[in-house]
Symmetry: D2
Subunit: 392 residues, 4 copies
């Protein structure tokens, strides 16, 4: 049961602010726990809700002072910038449509940004944001959190090391059931904004969960999508955005794959699964039991690689906290993104190069995600014609 | 552990002949075991190989007399027809390209036919065969054997009974790994004919395994495919037929789905899986552990339906032999097709109507399978354009 | 998907009779299918029920002639012995208490015996039967059918080959739920005799299922039990035989283990599981998905050994019929016992030595099983004191 | 994907100190993360190692000031008590033998105690500690952390609510493989103290992991052990404490069970499993995939209860942080013990009654655990005789 020691802090905590994540939200609380787990951030300010009353109540509930609970992100950007102990980084956990302006405001004040996905609602905005990030010299972290799971790191390491040979197939899916009925009519805040084009953008399921599956496929395989053929569909009457998508993919270099995302498949909670096959072997992983990775070397027995178990490599060990057989979960995977963000911010502030093992999703991943989304929409509108996925 | 009594025979055995299935073959032995399990057939004649020496040796090995071991199917058809104790039915277990002429020869002699899939190598042949069957008045059974699994019957019964509500999604896959390398160069008889267009027809994986997945999707959902968009591909250099296919499907009435078949995905032996989702619930099934069916009523807990277990319905019980928890397998599912064939043959010979619970794949399923294959080939050749699946 | 050829017959079928197994019985039908699968037996005679009417009706249903349907086993033994085409072997599928007299009657007539377990209801009878078998020179096969599963053969081969090192732990369990309530009051023939001391003997669950688990543990580990401490219990009011047993075991040579059998654990159908651990590795197997064997070499990754899959050994391949990924089940495992019996009978009749790879449970296993049962009863009656398991 | 709001803090953080948990330790880091996750504690002081150099280095690494990094627990108790901002609670994460004196020292200073298990090394000490706790009026929390898993809360709620009927069987096991060889010779700090009687006490595996399994069985079933029969054993040559134990249990009221713990079973990482069966249903749970609970109502289909999924009850929801399908793990379960501790401390300080839904293991559980250990040792030394488990 022994495990290698792992520095929990290594210096002062980074002062963090949050935009969004007030009462009734889901992902804000996740970000806060994730930021605490490895003890590298201290939440000191927030603009938790666009409703001032709710913002203040939410702030008090999580221990923020009234002084640093702001009524708007703009106010927070301005006033925090004026403080000697102002925030060093901001977490943006609002609905999709506001990511871009909020990120812009904080980058302009020299604040590092940790932002929920999808990064923007249009590819053009994502590219514009890339320019702003470049100009700011600040760190921008996109929380494609599933890439923080240790066995996903393990899978990526194995593919990069040639263990699977040449990759031929990347099969990804993210399947849920919570929108099978008209959940948005039940008053669910979570459902409400996700099916509203004004808040979510032009897509539903593929923006909310499809981009996660897409990112994971690329993250593990190391491949870039070249073109796709998509069939987006809305099954639930009256819903304005897709709740199911079937997508065929072709990657640069010859690999192919499919991606299925759905919010209307009863019996699936958060069924994010990835299967990657090459000339020498295959890998299979499922998010709901994330500590396991199935690996089959061609013509040999299937093997169970476990987090911190026998034969797991350094890239998984580096982001693990506890011994094999004691499950880590979603929050720890998310925390790894925060720990990586902390490393990147410290390196950036010190003007040092980032060690190559530190991995986090960047604006490039955000651009790739939007390129995927826009190609899928165009393809689906054109009879599922093969459509290029614009390179970053 | 009690189980309802089940008549094992109910009359004389049907005299059966076999074409193909000599030494070195795989599926012939499967048919023979399947025919024995429920004791409704007696194998009395065979043209087991086109090689006369091998035919005779094979016949002796399985207990056929030299007298009724024939050098060709044509000879067998002629000479058996002349015997008072001649075969009543023939099992055709040869490579795809010969199914049609062999079936024709026996139908012409008034012999019932049990035939491996795909039924022919062209849709036109399948339609011509349908005419011959109609004219003969004989029974024609296509061994889409997976439809004999009790939990597949259970799934079909549940869908037909409205348990899932309106069907929205049919996700099917059949994934193998045995052709990841150039298996055909190893002298494998099984690999050899499957990658040879002259023996297998115009398609590889989608004919060999894709049609099984397609049939199962329709069998369980009760839906007919309307159009598809396909991406067929050959990954292994020098192979002339597809070894992987991604297909998007649209069914009449509005359901959608995907079908993935592959022979190059390391870690998959016979990964035939089916998932069906409707407005009220979902079903999930995997061939490698076929006695289980996962059923989730919308907004309720996932349930495990087991063969002969609590809550399993009459259509599963009817084709089960032993109590829940004692696994039945591939051979029993196959045997059910033979038992159904026996029932159909007895009813046909007696001029009686077939009870509605007796289910077996017919030439209509064969036509649907070829329509699927031909649409997939056309779509793939046309940039994966949506292509109608011609109705039967 | 290719598979090594396997002789299906190799000569004339053995003429088989059956005692027990009439309408309403369970295991008789299983024996009949098992005898047919590999085509080495032909059922020609039966005394299927002690009720003459039922015996005849049952016989007709399975295709026996009236002439060879007998009203009693004694009559069958006598009259079959007088026929030139009389039975060569008999299958005894009656409740436990009659196994001994029936076996004795047929051995006395020179008929090979295939007998259900437990072999007798007392250890003394089992030893007496051993003497009769020895004197007869005939084959006696005890249908501890689970030892016919390919992956159980694989496990035994691995242990015998030293793959696990020195065995330390043998953990076996066979858990059911069908007697959780007073099933015997429902008119179930299966439940009725199993809870009746006059028909089942002095024990309930440990005779019916515990002996299977015990046999499997010894078969795989190659170890002999030295002593045990048992806690037999009856949970259901009014039931006269144990429906649950906890047993601690010590094997000769230092290994230890536990055995749990139960018929009152809701959610378990036929939960027969075996786990064996040694100094160099561990094996885990479950009957309900029997085509898989989990193998962990010490300090390496867990591996999935599949029937006919990569790395499976000759002892599994020898008793497999179809490729990996196509599940074989309970009936095939049972059929292997019949195929082994056929090989033993042919060798015996020919005066030849049996090849070492032919394995079937014998009277020695029956004696070991009764020694286990009697030790468990004595221990349980003596405050779970450690009690020697008498050697064969 | 919505989830009920959950107050993350609700007031000021509790000032926490830690004894043990320096560099090279395992469980100290776990406690620290667990204390952070729900943001109810702030670690401000530590005596992290008995080696002063290591203590200071460890303290710096985790962000403690030099001023509040102490060379011994005694010094820390004294000096913190003298500060106006001294610690309110202490976490004791040292090897077993020091739990008692450390707890005594802090209780004497009016500091609440959170202590690792087993609580002491003798039952007498545990009882003495109970008296000291009672006298102190302070909160004492024993970190039987597995009782913090939501599905364990769910299981307890179901049993308490009568869903399983009268409980008959409690089957628990905790199986590892990390001590299969002489791990203690490798320099592993974790292995070293666990096999050393001076640090671990009179028992090895049953103290380290067996008590967890025992606690879980009682926590879920609500039953108290009455007597047991144990077979403790050391498989590894030269090891002085048990590395495997087989135990049969009888609970007050008539239920029975078994408990197996082992550190020498290759292929098991942290295989803690619990199965509970009653007259009306059964429950099955495994720690390595802890978000699932299998529930079978008698004569109905097995159901999968998931954390925050359909049909999960309030006691699970209360200790969950994220939606169903996003796995929570070991650290979250541990964090729940800390959150409960915080609630108990706040209530104690305020002189308020603790709401009944707040559950944490207390000294009573510690006493029960030592009574279990001592009974097991006595029984094993007495030929596995049934031995009373002394009541609290």
């Amino acid at each position: 049961m022994s495990i290698e020691g792992r520095s929990e802090r290594g210096g002062k905590r980074i002062r963090l602010g949050m935009v969004g994540g007030g009462q009734g939200a889901f992902i804000g609380g996740v970000h806060r726990i994730a930021a605490r787990i490895d003890d590298r951030f201290e939440l000191v300010a927030g603009a938790l809700s666009s409703d001032p009353e709710r913002a203040r109540a939410s702030a008090r509930e999580i221990g923020l002072t009234d002084e640093r609970s702001y009524g708007s992100y703009a106010e927070m950007a301005e006033r925090e910038a004026a403080r000697p102990d102002g925030i060093e980084a901001v977490a943006i956990v609002t609905p999709n449509a506001t990511h871009f302006p909020v990120a812009r405001a904080f980058l302009a004040r020299g604040v590092h940004v940790i932002c929920d996905k999808p990064v923007t609602t249009t590819l053009a905005d994502a590219r514009e944001l890339a320019r702003l990030i470049e100009a700011s010299g600040k760190v921008f972290v996109l929380t494609h959190n599933y890439s923080g799971y240790p066995m996903i790191r393990q899978a990526r390491e194995m593919v990069a090391g040639g263990v699977l040979g040449e990759i031929r197939l990347v099969q990804a899916e993210y399947v849920q059931d919570w929108l099978t009925g008209r959940t948005e009519d039940s008053g669910s805040k979570q459902a409400g904004w996700r099916v509203d084009p004004a808040q979510a953008g032009a897509v539903g399921s593929i923006g909310d969960i499809g981009t996660h599956a897409f990112h994971l496929g690329s993250f593990v395989s190391g491949l870039e999508a070249e073109e796709l053929a998509a069939d987006l569909h809305t099954f639930v009457d009256g819903r304005r955005l897709d709740d199911n998508a079937h997508i065929m993919l072709r990657y640069r270099g010859g690999a192919r794959g499919t991606l299925w995302c759905s919010q209307v498949a009863p019996g699936n909670e958060n069924g994010l699964k990835l299967r990657v096959y090459g000339t020498k072997g295959g890998l299979e992983w499922s998010q709901e039991n994330p500590n396991l990775l199935w690996y089959t070397p061609l013509s040999e027995q299937k093997r169970l690689v476990t987090r911190n178990g026998a034969g797991a490599g350094p890239s998984a060990a580096r982001v693990s906290r506890i011994p094999a057989g004691h499950p880590e979960g979603y929050l720890e995977g998310f925390a790894t993104i925060y720990a990586e963000a902390a490393a990147a911010i410290r390196a950036c502030d010190a003007g040092e190069a980032l060690p190559p093992e530190v991995l986090y999703p960047t604006i490039a991943d955000g651009i790739a995600g939007l390129a995927f989304i826009e190609a899928a929409v165009r393809s689906s509108q054109s009879g599922s014609a093969w459509t290029p996925v614009e390179a970053g």
